[in-house]
Symmetry: C2
Subunit: 288 residues, 2 copies
């Protein structure tokens, strides 16, 4: 029998990410009670009914006032406002952590909001599905997946260790990283590909206006390739805004590569094109 | 028992595409004998051993001289050279067709090469796997898939009908299309996405040099998204060269969409970004 790490966890935003964290920790026996907070009353009621949470809080203040750990699992642009609003109600020693996919600005803004005696630890679990809401939550979501924590010079060591143990109990492999490094890495491997896919759908759909059944011929490749362009628009707006600096650097790098490719297509430069495609294939096959 | 449509089919290039066509037509009972031609002697011997073909020709001339139909299934840049070399050996009434994924230039070049009394029909089956060679061929490859034929004003009606019947016997849904329309459609739904993916791998790998373990964090999304950047470099060089006109129009349309997106990220224009992503999601979900 695993000994509980904490008595009370409060999850703010009981969707796929927050709800799965609650279910995973309850399944692991490391938390005794989970309180849920959600601005969507129907979703909160469903979470309670499904047993994702043990108690539905009437307000954010009510929800966090008895928590040892508060997990803020809302769209990345809403994390800081939630932390600001919760701060006056946090009990002494409370540890606040989040799941936002952009970290530098978020951690910089949140740390000073936390009252003395409480602690903030930035986090980002690399997991998800295309579904959302409490009904989509499941205890195995984080099993074998990475969770990144981005402590700073002022992060409390015990708070960091507690958050690490919770993610490990949820089945994650935990890795610590500088927030700026995190944001550069994810600008490259996640944020840029999403921008590329969103622009591709616009470009092809623009052609589709002229060529009405153009997409009947798209076969599986286009469908698979553009799947990420179906991601949530608000989430990606927030990511683009909050990771603007790192993302712009990647957008410009991509524009350079793409424009160079375009000029060699225009020049009918066969040897260059073959070499460029060959390098892509080698890099992609080698790094995946 | 299906009555054979033709006695002898010659397949030039006995790989996934050519070999699967042979197997499908033999399984359907519409061809009596398949002769294979391949510049790779090992692959040709394997095709014979596996029963993909019934006879291995010693040369292109030997292979085509008794054929009713010649199926040229080589990289798109090699189709016209093969047709030119085969032309003097084609028997009267012979129908030559191909599987190239670019059609306008190819059909323009091939039609005049065909001797009087023989016929050319441009074709493009929309099917494939990531494997290649005779060992990858299987009779079901074309089942339920589209095959496009691109007849011109000079295409012989009986030759077109014969090629249509063969593709239908292979399980395909056959559709006729202008070669120029074909090339515009595939520039949008296939050729542009490949260029986008090739450039993306270069851009991200450029970052990987600075951030050595960047791709350990790429999760499934990046892997799935860049799968098409593993496609054959020579095949894609030929496609880029032969569909240069239609492709350039799409590359420029894409550059415009992507640059516009970049400028709104630079301006931190949240409402515009949300609307752009929302339109992508709606278009993509609606058209797939």
């Amino acid at each position: 029998m695993t000994k509980p790490l904490i008595k009370t966890l409060t999850v703010v935003g009981v969707g796929l990410i927050g709800g799965s964290f609650a279910l995973a920790l309850k399944a692991a026996g490391v938390v005794e009670r989970v309180i849920g907070v959600d601005r969507n009353a129907d979703n909160l009621a469903l979470a309670l009914q499904l047993g994702v949470i043990d108690e539905a809080a009437a307000s954010l203040a009510d929800g966090v006032c008895s928590a040892q750990v508060v997990f803020v699992a809302v769209p990345v642009g809403s994390v800081a406002p939630v932390v600001a609003q919760a701060a006056p109600s946090l009990p002494p020693g409370c540890v606040v952590t989040d799941a936002g996919s952009v970290k530098e600005e978020l951690v910089q803004v949140c740390e000073p909001l936390i009252p003395s005696g409480c602690h903030f630890v930035g986090g980002h679990p690399i997991a998800g599905t295309e579904h959302s809401g409490a009904a989509a939550a499941f205890a195995e979501l984080y099993r074998g997946k990475r969770s990144i924590l981005t402590p700073t010079e002022v992060t409390d060591a015990d708070a960091l260790e507690l958050v690490r143990q919770l993610w490990q109990a949820a089945g994650s492999r935990v890795e610590c990283m500088e927030a700026t490094t995190h944001d550069r890495v994810f600008a490259a491997v996640s944020h840029l590909p999403h921008m590329v896919a969103y622009a591709l759908v616009h470009a092809v759909a623009g052609s589709a206006e002229a060529e009405e059944n153009i997409l009947a011929f798209s076969a599986g490749g286009f469908r698979d390739f553009t799947r990420i362009a179906s991601s949530d628009p608000v989430m990606w707006r927030d990511i683009a805004l909050m990771n603007r600096g790192a993302l712009l650097a990647l957008l410009d790098r991509y524009l350079l590569e793409f424009s160079t490719l375009r000029s060699h297509v225009a020049d009918s430069d066969g040897p260059w094109l073959e070499a460029f495609f060959h390098t892509s294939k080698r890099l992609r096959d080698g790094i995946i």
